[in-house]
């Protein structure tokens, strides 16, 4: 598991004024409640259909003080599609139960990563995705690993997530499609596990792509799946 460069200053350069006086949220903790909710909300969108079963692996301070901070409720709220200011957040676990969504928590030791880190495994009848992210403080979040690939999803802009076969020209083709939609790329990362096998791109864009462009990308034979993660920051 690659570390998330926790000390790099660049990590919090995406923070805006409205992140510092904000978010409007249900208490009691911006990192353990609001941030946890945002991480789970982003993770929810890595699946095509809502999950039937979700497992949260809690690391560090999330594991130690999560109960006191409503972290469990906030994580459940996030995978149910709630935002941090949703008044139903305190009832999220009961709501998940009534909707037939199985939610489990366990403690994890992930080594030298940010103390507020969660590994979320989401499953439904057709897919299973594992997402790891950290709540950096004040509601600012970063997902830094999906399915073993290094990514950078901060939720400060819509983010395209593309899982593809590592073959020449994929980045150029994807960038062309985004350009044809007249959308700017703010940040792009691409990581592969082995040469010629699978890779993943996370592309932060200034506004969401059109439905037709998303469908076109998904239809390309070297693209395995495409997801559009929404903006979660104000």
């Amino acid at each position: 598991m690659p570390l998330a460069n926790q000390d790099s200053k660049a990590q919090t350069n995406h923070v805006s004024l409205l992140d510092m006086i904000g978010p409007v949220m249900v208490g009691p903790s911006s990192s353990h409640t609001a941030g946890a909710c945002r991480l789970a909300f982003l993770a929810l969108h890595t699946l095509e259909e809502p999950p039937k079963r979700v497992e949260f692996g809690l690391h560090g301070s999330f594991a130690k003080t999560g109960h006191g901070h409503g972290t469990h409720l906030a994580l459940a709220a996030g995978v149910l599609g709630m935002k941090p200011d949703d008044p139903r957040l305190p009832q999220a676990l009961e709501l998940a139960k009534s909707q037939g969504m199985g939610i489990e928590f366990k403690n994890l030791e992930l080594g030298d990563v940010h103390p507020n880190t969660v590994r979320i495994t989401l499953e439904n009848h057709s897919e299973r995705v594992q997402v790891t992210g950290s709540s950096l403080g004040g509601g600012v979040v970063k997902i830094w690993n999906i399915e073993g690939f290094e990514v950078r999803v901060t939720g400060s802009a819509p983010t395209l997530l593309i899982r593809n076969v590592d073959t020449p020209g994929v980045i150029a083709r994807v960038a062309r499609v985004i350009a044809d939609d007249e959308v700017n790329i703010a940040y792009l990362s691409c990581a592969r596990q082995k040469r010629g096998e699978e890779a993943m791109m996370s592309i932060e864009i200034d506004k969401p792509l059109s439905e037709i462009s998303l469908k076109y990308l998904a239809s390309l034979h070297y693209i395995l799946w495409v997801r559009l993660l929404p903006q979660v920051m104000d």
């Binding site: 006086i21 249900v26 130690k64 403080g137």
Partner: protein, 284 residues
């Protein structure tokens, strides 16, 4: 290059204007949108103050919930309506937070009371209308942004100094601008507030954002007003403001894990703290 505290102190005009301009360039958001959102947040802050001052229902773990109301209704023995107002407002916000009520993180939820306590408390004391509070609120946010470029604003990262220190610095700058302070005065108010929170640990009892968090917001909202008062009088931080942030970052790295929001040291690790934690776990 993004603005630093030292660079901001050299500029003329309003400190908040410079930070707003920088943010609009970075995000591409229209000015009116940011200011309208700030106005909404100010309204939420006011609503949590009003709720918290009259609500005495216990918090999630039952350790707090009635303190803001108690203070607000107590006789003013010191004839000091300003400090009592500021403290009560700050604690009202944090007691709402501890009840899982609706608040504005500023910059975090655990430190959410300091900025509204100091800024709205001073404004109400002096009968200053809400529209005059928007740019000071922008300045508070901008000071938080500058700090967050050096540290993670989370108790789990560098102790409570990262949270309440940041909120007190933000509040100190905001109050200074509200009272006519130059960018230099605002920046030094922030630096003075920050250097007097250095080393503060994060040791919440049972891991709940209740003890010492609620009363601490009361204390540090007054601390912010003190910093503003000193800076407006012309007092300056001997250590340059950006170096104070670096000092905070260094201290955060030296803090042991037990004192960084794990609930395993300090007040949390007292006999009563441990007993309260066990009781709260049994109630789950």
């Amino acid at each position: 290059m993004p603005l630093t505290l030292n660079a901001l102190a050299q500029l003329g005009g309003l400190a908040s204007e410079h930070l707003l301009k920088e943010d609009l360039e970075e995000t591409g958001q229209p000015r009116a949108t940011v200011l309208a959102t700030m106005a909404e947040r100010l309204a939420v802050m006011r609503a949590s103050i009003q709720q918290g001052l009259k609500n005495s229902a216990p918090s999630v773990a039952g350790m707090v919930g009635w303190n803001a109301k108690t203070l607000w209704e107590a006789p003013d023995l010191l004839s000091s309506p300003l400090t009592r107002r500021v403290q009560a407002y700050a604690m009202a916000v944090n007691e709402e937070n501890a009840r899982m009520g609706r608040i504005v993180a500023a910059p975090t939820a655990g430190s959410a009371g300091t900025v509204p306590g100091a800024l709205i408390g001073v404004a109400d004391h002096l009968h200053i209308p809400d529209e005059k509070l928007l740019m000071p609120l922008v300045l508070a946010a901008g000071i938080g942004k500058i700090i967050s470029r050096q540290i993670y604003i989370a108790g789990s990262s560098g102790g409570c100094q990262n949270e309440i220190g940041s909120s007190a610095a933000m509040a100190a700058a905001a109050v200074t601008e509200l009272l006519g302070g130059t960018p230099e005065a605002c920046v030094h108010a922030a630096a003075l507030a920050l250097q007097n929170t250095l080393g503060l640990v994060c040791d919440p009892v049972g891991g709940f954002v209740e003890v010492p968090c609620v009363m601490r917001n009361g204390f540090y909202s007054v601390h912010a007003v003190t910093s503003a008062e000193q800076a407006l009088a012309g007092i300056r931080s001997v250590i340059p403001p950006d170096e104070v942030i670096l000092a905070m970052a260094g201290i955060g790295r030296l803090l042991p894990l037990e004192l960084r929001e794990t609930g395993e040291g300090g007040l949390a690790d007292t006999p009563t703290g441990r007993a309260l934690a066990a009781k709260a776990r049994d109630n789950k």
